[in-house]
């Protein structure tokens, strides 16, 4: 900082210092305790010319192995999907890219309308009545849904399917930590991979909610979700469902089987994988009065201007939020993923309902092709669970060590999937593989051929 100022006109600088009442620039930092003050220079290398710096950076980046070089079959909540160029064209428009929170509706109608349309599409997909304009990601969206259920119902116990994503479970626990709450897992059936309904019956008493995923973490579709809903509601709890938004073009919407709140990962709607993020938390619920005012996050509503002549959009129900309610707000979230939501809107608008269904069907077909070919291999048990699946399924390698198999495949430029054992110790040597529209049949054939070589 002082080096920069040394370049400044010293006369001007001394005038400024005089105005603010100090003798030297160092005095601006006098609140920093002596013992933590940096003395001397930072341990940085000498500056480089721009061209040399660029070369250096590229040489470091060269050490990365990127997705383009590998065949990747990773899912686990973030399946790969193609990102059309149009999405980036729209989101890179500075009007969207640089926009801040639309607190001033009169100058933010474009962004507000885009977010309202996004909310409408989420309602269409999930069958819910109200959607917010996004949360940070799927995991925090679930945690917020559960906190919401706790506020609405007040019981001390929440239920989570044992077959939901491990990262989601961890974040739920984090959000429950300050509360005196019990999180109980509902078992899954070892054969189908679906939720164990009799275990749910036993545990449902006094629970404020149940959270399941559909398809679940093992890729299996919870075909008995209506029955699950009945059990949960009979005991007075709320039914929270985590759904893959693309699967919703093909399978029943959660509203059809009684969900009260729906959450999910919107990053797959045109967001791209991007080394993990940014993500897009989907959050929607039924328009029950006891629920709507407990929703976290920003909600955009449609109204008219004061003259009642034009349609206009604005943030609504703001009295739930931080900037008005402070510590009594429904959540500590004070932002959203607006740009990601605009990207998702673009993606969905581009595909339309027919296109999205086609995409979902292609994904489903690819996964089922892979499953069929793999099921012919005697050395593996695929698909490991008998339950109907959407885009992912588990593959059990019997007595072969999965780490060795993966090593062998990576050497052949294939990343075959996720090892389940670390989060599900009962699933030894079991892999979770994901197949979507981005995988050509030829890619899947290469995968299976390489797999045969590695395990023989």
């Amino acid at each position: 900082m002082t080096k920069f100022l040394e370049e400044c006109d010293m006369e001007k600088l001394s005038k400024v210092l005089y105005q603010i009442g100090i003798n030297e620039v160092g005095e601006l930092y006098r609140d920093i305790p002596e013992e933590v003050l940096l003395k001397g220079e930072l341990n940085l290398p000498e500056p480089l010319e721009e061209m040399d710096l660029e070369n250096y950076i590229y040489s470091v980046l060269e050490k990365n192995r990127t997705q383009g070089e590998f065949l990747v079959f990773l899912g686990g909540g973030l399946p790969p999907h193609y990102v059309p160029a149009t999405v980036d064209t729209i989101t890179s428009r500075s009007e969207f890219y640089t926009a801040y929170t639309p607190y001033q509706p009169e100058i933010s109608q474009g962004m507000l309308q885009a977010l309202f349309e996004y909310q409408s599409m989420i309602c269409d997909l999930t069958g819910m009545d109200v959607a917010n304009s996004s949360m940070y990601d799927w995991a925090t969206a679930v945690a917020e849904a559960i906190r919401m259920a706790i506020r609405v119902k007040g019981n001390k116990k929440i239920l989570v399917g044992a077959n939901v994503g491990p990262e989601r479970k961890k974040v739920i626990r984090t959000y429950l930590e300050p509360l005196d709450m019990e999180m109980v897992e509902v078992k899954y059936l070892q054969d189908s991979g679906r939720l164990d309904l009799s275990d749910l019956e036993e545990k449902a008493e006094d629970a404020c909610c149940l959270y399941i995923e559909n398809p679940n973490f093992f890729g299996v579709l919870e075909k008995e979700a209506s029955k699950v809903s009945e059990i949960v509601h009979a005991k007075g709890g709320l039914f929270v469902v985590g759904a893959d938004p693309i699967s919703l073009a093909l399978v029943k919407s959660p509203s059809e089987y009684g969900a009260d709140i729906v959450v999910g990962e919107g990053q797959i709607l045109g967001g791209g994988l991007n080394f993990g993020g940014p993500a897009l938390g989907i959050f929607a619920c039924k328009s029950d009065p006891s629920l709507v005012r407990q929703i976290p996050g920003r909600i955009i509503g449609m109204t008219t201007d004061l003259a009642n002549t034009q349609r206009a959009f604005t943030m609504v129900l703001q009295t739930r939020e931080q900037h008005i309610r402070r510590e009594h707000a429904t959540s500590n979230i004070c932002s959203n993923e607006a740009l990601m939501a605009v990207g998702a809107l673009t993606y969905l608008a581009l595909l339309g309902s027919k296109g999205l269904r086609k995409l979902a069907l292609e994904t489903y077909n690819k996964a089922h092709y892979a499953s069929k070919v793999l099921s012919e291999l005697k050395e593996v048990n695929a698909p490991y669970f008998s339950g109907e699946f959407f885009q992912e399924f588990a593959i059990n390698f019997k007595n072969k060590r999965l780490e060795e198999v993966i090593k062998g495949l990576v050497a052949k430029k294939i990343v075959p999937g996720i090892m389940l054992e670390s989060d599900f110790p009962e699933l030894k040597n079991t892999l979770l593989s994901c197949f979507t529209e981005v995988h050509k049949e030829a890619d899947i054939d290469i995968f299976v051929k390489a797999l045969k070589e590695v395990i023989s």
């Binding site: 009065p289 005012r293 703001q318 009295t319 008005i324 309610r325 009594h328």
Partner: protein
């Protein structure tokens, strides 16, 4: 001087709540001054029936579009009834803060003492004019 309605037969708190005594029951609401400060009320959150709320604690909240106002219980008591009409028609508070817009009814636990500590209508009017300065 006062453009605010302040019925004579009620008692008032500094936080602009009013109390009407009907036999052994106390009825609580917010004053015309409070309502005019809040503008359009869009939502009311009322206390649980059966809950015992000490004087001075938050008993209800009243929401306009941009603000939330806490309603402090003016006299200690147990809630025996809440105005269910306000669930669907919160605007009743704006239209009729002292009649149709009542908030909740209490079984007072310390009536004589608590009532004495509240303003009479005259005292409340004086209090309101002091606020204007």
């Amino acid at each position: 001087m006062s453009s605010y309605i302040v019925p004579e037969d009620l008692r008032y708190s500094k936080d602009h709540e009013w109390v009407r005594i009907e036999g052994s029951i106390a009825i609580v609401g917010i004053t015309d001054y409070a309502v005019k400060s809040l503008h359009d009320i869009v939502y009311v959150s009322l206390p649980k029936i059966g809950s015992t709320i000490p004087k001075g604690l938050v008993a209800a909240t009243v929401e306009s579009i941009k603000a939330v106002s806490e309603v402090y219980n003016p006299i200690s008591g147990t809630v025996i009834e809440v105005n269910k009409d306000l669930e669907t028609s919160p605007e009743k508070i704006n239209e009729s803060p002292y009649e149709a817009g009542w908030l909740f009814k209490l079984n007072p636990t310390n009536l004589k003492e608590d009532i004495e500590k509240l303003f009479s209508s005259k005292q409340y009017l004086e209090y309101l004019s002091s606020l204007k300065k």
